[in-house]
């Protein structure tokens, strides 16, 4: 009884204290403040600034106290191709419902539509950002939510186009359900830890759909990476989980679905790699679990360089790829087992669902191509299919240890 009375008292206290401290300031409309900058100056910590529809050209806007900035009827903040549009710093800031256009472009400074520096607790939701250098730029930030934003850049060339969502030295971020196109890298992570990237679509960016450097203990899942210049790159990181992503149509010169360079202790599961020049390119990566992925219609499903070790590639589906696996040496320290290969032509007399003869996923021709790329001109020549058959019978130049001893007879249900 006493407890209940106590909580009732606290509730009453809360109810009375909130309206007192949190004030709503309105910008635009009939009776509101004339400028956003004016309202931001008047607002105290914890206030809400509501901006009505319209176009605002106010120079650099800065928020450096805990505020909530809400746009009604999607007000437009125009950077007039000259500057950062909105800068956030401090803690607990929310920005939602705006449209940002035309941030400046600079080779010296990373000009951005929304720039967050030295901030804890930032929430950027439901904004549209168009024709900006960087769209959302976060540096030295933590406790970040970037959700449901639509970001559309104008692709120029790599050196004068910024990234869509750019995080540098951040912690504990959630990047969710954003739609990014036409930037240099769709999402860029450098020194970011304990973060999640969920259900974003990154399409038609100049370089990578997702670029991931020196970022440990992160997880990205359910994203779609389509038609980016070079696919997705994950480099120099540990303990990254990549799950249920789709890597589609990343093709062209030096394009990859997923490029792994110096990655360790990570998990790649249930992803789809369709129609990429190379599905997964692995270099210097170790202790990876690559399970339940589907590779179809790629040029190379996987290129596993000899510098990779202790990786487990298991229960994946390989179908319709020109080459299943390619490698650049005879040393193989990785384990391939129980994958489904559509090129496998063995039999299963024991009826355990696994072929009785092992499968060698590296064809002789893929070794030949690795040594001399010009021989690609002989692709699907009759001679090549004869040589491949001969090599299958008596292996001589394909790595002896790269072998799936228990190839599955039917595709894995993912």
């Amino acid at each position: 009884m006493q407890n209940a009375a106590k909580s009732l008292f606290i509730l009453a206290l809360l109810a009375t204290s909130f309206p007192l401290s949190a004030v709503q300031l309105i910008v635009g409309g009939a009776h509101g403040h004339a400028t956003i900058a004016g309202a931001l100056q008047l607002a105290a910590a914890g206030d809400t600034v509501i901006v009505m529809g319209g176009t605002y050209r106010e120079g650099k806007l800065l928020i450096d106290k805990p505020l909530t900035l809400i746009g009604i009827d999607r007000p437009l903040l125009d950077g007039e191709n000259a500057r950062d549009i909105l800068t956030l710093s401090g803690k607990n800031i929310t920005v939602m419902g705006f449209r940002f256009e035309n941030s400046g472009i600079s080779a010296m400074n990373d000009l951005a539509a929304i720039k967050c520096i030295d901030i804890t607790g930032v929430h950027i939701e439901d904004n549209q950002i168009a024709r900006s250098h960087f769209a959302i730029h976060l540096a030295n930030a933590s406790d970040i939510v970037v959700r449901n934003n639509t970001i559309e850049g104008v692709p120029r060339s790599e050196h004068n186009t910024g990234n869509g969502i750019h995080l540098w030295k951040c912690k504990n971020a959630l990047i969710e359900e954003n739609d990014i196109s036409g930037h240099r890298d769709g999402i860029y992570f450098e020194f970011v830890s304990d973060s999640r990237i969920r259900c974003n679509t990154s399409r038609g960016n100049l370089r990578y759909g997702l670029h991931f450097m020196f970022s440990n203990d992160d997880r990205y899942e359910g994203n779609r990476f389509i038609e980016n210049g070079a696919g997705v790159a994950v480099m120099y990181s540990r303990k990254v989980t990549m799950e249920q992503n789709e890597f589609l149509h990343n093709w062209g010169n030096a394009a990859y679905g997923l490029l792994l360079k110096d990655i360790t202790d990570s998990y790649i599961g249930q992803n789809y790699f369709v129609h990429n020049t190379v599905g997964i390119f692995m270099e210097g990566s170790s202790r990876m679990q690559i399970l339940w992925n589907s590779f179809s219609k790629n040029g190379w499903a996987m290129r596993v360089q000899a510098s990779c070790n202790d990786n487990r590639i298991s229960l994946n589906n390989f179908s319709g790829n020109t080459f299943d696996i390619a490698t650049n040496g005879t040393l193989v320290l990785n384990e391939f087992d129980r994958n489904y290969w559509d090129k496998y032509d063995g039999y299963d007399r024991t009826r355990d669902g696994m072929g009785d003869v092992p499968y060698r996923p590296v064809s002789m021709y893929s070794m030949v191509v690795e040594r001399n790329p010009f021989t690609l001109i002989l692709l699907r020549s009759i001679l090549i299919s004869f040589l491949d058959k001969a090599e299958k019978a008596i292996p001589s130049i394909t790595p002896e240890l790269l072998i799936d001893k228990q190839p599955l007879m039917k595709p894995v249900r993912v």
Binding site: N253, A255, H275, R371, L376, I377
Partner: protein, 258 residues
């Protein structure tokens, strides 16, 4: 000219009643229908049909033309007793033979392919298939006028087919490895031009398996063959592969003691 046209028409209508030509068209049609029905992915079916285009078309075209030439030897002799030029008679034989083979190809493979694809790929398939038939017929006629003996003529043609379809690629592979320290882009382009079957394969390949090829050096080939200019190049070279053997065999035939 009208005499040649009449003659071509007669020989043509004679050939298309030939059982072998009907079987050839029927086989292609059957293969195409089966593949398109069995494969759920029409791209894969087209890939298998490409193998038919690359192996069967040259083989049948060459052997059929050679045998046809030898079988109509007496007919040719009879015609030459009439007031007809040797050039007219020879070209009539050639065109009748090539056109009937092309007709079989269009009916057998062309129509099923056109039912599934209506793009540059299908157009390229038909164009190269037609030109390849012409080139192989010309090469076969050339071999046939060279050798008086039928068995010998067929032997030469079979060897030529074997060379173009198989041996040549081995030689290319060897050359590419021997000179791998040098820039090979132009050489590779040149090497594909020296074999009509390879040229057909590469021009089709760059429209189909592009993803694998584009990655590295393929970009160059893609740029070259993928463009309209590349198609003109492919067509032009295949046309030369028809024209040169034809001119050569015509010269031999003109001065030959029949």
């Amino acid at each position: 000219m009208t005499a040649m046209w009449t003659l071509t028409r007669y020989i043509f209508s004679d050939i298309i009643r030939n059982k072998v030509i009907v079987l050839y068209a029927g086989f292609q049609l059957l293969a195409a229908l089966l593949l398109f029905n069995l494969e759920e992915n029409p791209d894969k079916a087209l890939l298998s049909l490409l193998n038919i285009e690359l192996i069967v078309i040259p083989l049948i075209s060459m052997i059929f033309s050679t045998i046809h030439y030898y079988n109509s030897y007496e007919f040719i002799e009879m015609l030459l007793a009439q007031p007809l030029g040797r050039r007219q008679v020879f070209l009539s034989e050639f065109f009748a033979c090539a056109l009937s083979l092309v007709l079989a190809f269009i009916l057998g493979l062309g129509i099923p392919v056109l039912l599934h694809f209506q793009d540059m790929l299908a157009f390229n398939f038909l164009l190269t298939g037609t030109l390849l038939t012409f080139a192989c017929t010309a090469i076969a006629f050339c071999a046939a006028v060279l050798a008086r003996d039928k068995a010998r003529g067929i032997g030469i043609v079979l060897l030529l087919w074997f060379y173009f379809a198989l041996v040549y690629d081995g030689i290319v592979l060897m050359i590419l490895f021997t000179f791998s320290d040098y820039p090979l882009e132009r050489l590779t382009l040149l090497l594909t031009a020296l074999n009509p079957i390879d040229l057909t394969r590469v021009s089709m390949m760059l429209r189909m398996d592009v993803s694998a090829l584009m990655g590295y050096t393929g970009a160059l080939f893609k740029e070259f063959f993928g463009s309209f200019r590349g198609m003109l190049y492919t067509g032009g070279i295949l046309f030369l592969w028809t024209l040169l053997p034809l001119i050569l065999s015509l010269r031999i035939f003109r001065n030959k003691d029949l």
